[in-house]
């Protein structure tokens, strides 16, 4: 085992441990805000995993969008809908049992499936595109058999409609027109 491999292995298991513990916290912690912090930890570890897999660009995007955007949005949702003293009521026993059975069942099924399937692995040291970001850009805007321009456009439409929909839903329809300007500004401030 060479040093690079050793480092790789240690980092992998370390990150895996942290992210599994944090993920468990996300689903079990009673104070919802702490769960949000744990979620941020899971997502940061996710970025670490992507770097281990040599997708630095995706890792950067993960940090930018997930930590800089989605987690902050979730934190906002928490702030707007609960107070510091709020603790969640524990789920009922039956619900908990159902959850444990189904998730463990899924886990077992998937693991057995992975064990019994032989995946067609690529060559041990295949050549990586020199600039991943450039290649992704080509793919996203390319059309033809290997381009993704149609899904790309659809995604952008989806984002736009999501933003507009969020503004419409979040804005209070009962406000007098004099307050509306400020209100809509606030909601588009938080909806992006």
């Amino acid at each position: 085992m060479n040093p690079a491999e050793l480092t790789h292995t240690i980092v992998f298991y370390g990150l895996a441990l942290v992210s599994i513990v944090a993920a468990l916290l996300v689903v079990t912690v009673k104070r919802i805000f702490r769960a949000a912090v744990a979620l941020a930890t899971v997502l940061v570890c996710g970025a670490g995993f992507y770097i281990l897999l040599d997708y630095d660009f995706i890792a950067g995007i993960q940090l930018l969008v997930y930590v800089g955007g989605i987690v902050i949005l979730i934190v906002f949702a928490v702030m707007l809908t609960s107070s510091l003293e709020d603790t969640e009521i524990r789920p009922s026993k039956s619900r908990k049992a159902l959850g444990i059975i189904s998730s463990l069942g899924f886990l077992a099924t998937a693991l057995i499936a992975f064990q019994s399937t032989s995946f067609p692995l690529s060559a041990p040291t295949p050549e990586q595109p020199s600039d991943v970001a450039l290649e992704i850009g080509r793919k996203l805007l390319g059309y033809g058999s290997d381009g993704y321009v149609l899904p790309f456009e659809i995604i952008s439409l989806l984002l736009l409609s999501a933003v507009i929909g969020a503004i419409v839903v979040a804005r209070n329809p009962l406000k007098k027109s004099s307050d509306l300007s400020g209100q809509s500004e606030q909601s588009d401030g938080s909806a992006t």
């Binding site: 912090v37 630095d56 934190v75 401030g189 938080s190």
Partner: protein, 368 residues
């Protein structure tokens, strides 16, 4: 000579973590030692930089206000920051009774981590850059998210309505202005053709982007400086901590060491934003070059690159302080209006203009 010495010692400190990684396989103890040294060195570097910036801020403020500022501790009050730091460390560490103690503890840590992460990829001179990520520009706007997460945590966990209001303001402000910052970063990415900060510096060999990019560069610089001031929560955009409205906002309940973490993070962030502005628009450590004028360029090269970097950064830091001590604060809705109705459209149009310039190669000095 002095500059080389400084660069060298800073480099030694900042590359200790690399050496720790290298030593990991052979000798874990050595690796641990290097890691500790690197942590200590980074901490010392951060606090020294922070204290220097605080001293400068106080002096600049004083001279804007027709007074002298700190004069007693050391020559012209040079040691005032150290005295203040010592005072801060001795203060009682107060945690509100009903605060969420874990998050209250984590919040300043998040802030300072975000700062350190951003600091390590700034190219301060050709040799002094701790990590040279190939996604540098994305990375630096990504780690900003941690900082604001720290602010949100602080506001929430303090269990104080004023703090919560401040945190909400900080979040909304950060998410909004992040778009403008990213747009102006994208302009430079387009012009330089790279996300890597060292390559962006190299691309300005024939002239800095602020003037090689015509009006586009200037507009992008102003959009950048306005929106990064807003992201830093500095006046006139200091709504999250507006002391006359929210009595300090998110850090109302913090004292002593924890407060000093926020304080330090704020000042270092100002340095980072200025350094980033200098790197992207004024060529970072790249001397003042004009494409084609080789004699002039070689004269300019006599000034060491570290000084160029320091000078440019100091200029932008001074610009920010100037604004801070002159302008009053905006109101919440005006802040949002400025971003969504002015800076955002300008940023988009500017991006299109930059794309046009890149496609038509209409740089101010085409270079070779």
């Amino acid at each position: 000579m002095l500059e080389n010495l400084l660069t060298h010692s800073a480099f030694e400190i900042l590359t200790l973590s690399d050496r720790a990684a290298q030593a990991l396989a052979e000798n874990p103890w050595e690796a641990a030692g290097y890691t500790l040294l690197a942590l200590g060195g980074t901490g010392a570097f951060l606090s020294l930089l922070g204290m220097a910036l605080i001293y400068v801020e106080r002096k600049v403020a004083a001279h804007f206000q027709c007074r002298l500022g700190p004069m007693r501790v050391g020559w012209h009050g040079m040691l005032q920051s150290i005295a203040d730091a010592l005072k801060l460390l001795q203060k009682e560490d107060i945690i509100p009774e009903k605060a969420d103690k874990l998050l209250f503890f984590l919040a300043p840590v998040f802030s300072i981590i975000a700062t350190v992460l951003a600091l390590i990829i700034i190219p301060m001179s050709p040799s002094l850059q701790v990590v040279d990520l190939n996604i540098g520009v994305i990375f630096i706007s990504a780690v900003g998210g941690f900082g604001v997460l720290g602010i949100l945590l602080a506001g929430w966990s303090s269990n104080n309505k004023w703090s919560l209001l401040g945190a909400m303001r900080a979040g909304a402000q950060f998410i909004s202005y992040e778009i403008s910052v990213t747009l102006s970063l994208l302009v430079i990415t387009l012009l330089a053709g790279s996300l890597q900060l060292s390559e962006i510096v190299q691309s300005q060999q024939d002239g800095w982007w602020i003037w090689r990019g015509h009006i586009v560069g200037v507009v992008a610089f102003f959009v950048f400086i306005i929106s990064s001031t807003a992201e830093l929560n500095r006046p006139p955009f200091d709504l999250p901590e507006a002391e006359s409205e929210l009595t300090g906002g998110f850090h109302t309940e913090y004292s002593g060491l924890r407060f000093s973490f926020f304080f330090l993070a704020e000042f270092i962030n100002m340095f980072i934003a200025s350094a980033l502005g200098a790197t992207l628009f004024f060529g970072g450590w790249m001397p003042f070059h004009i494409g084609g004028f080789e004699t002039f360029n070689s004269i300019m090269d006599l000034i060491p690159p570290g000084l160029w970097f320091a000078g440019k950064t100091a200029f932008i830091v001074f610009l920010m302080m100037w604004v801070r001590w002159t302008f009053p604060r905006l109101r919440v809705d005006q802040l949002m209006r400025l971003e969504w109705k002015f800076l955002l459209p300008v940023g988009f149009i500017n991006l299109f203009a930059a794309a046009t310039i890149v496609l038509t190669k209409l740089y101010f000095f085409p270079g070779q």
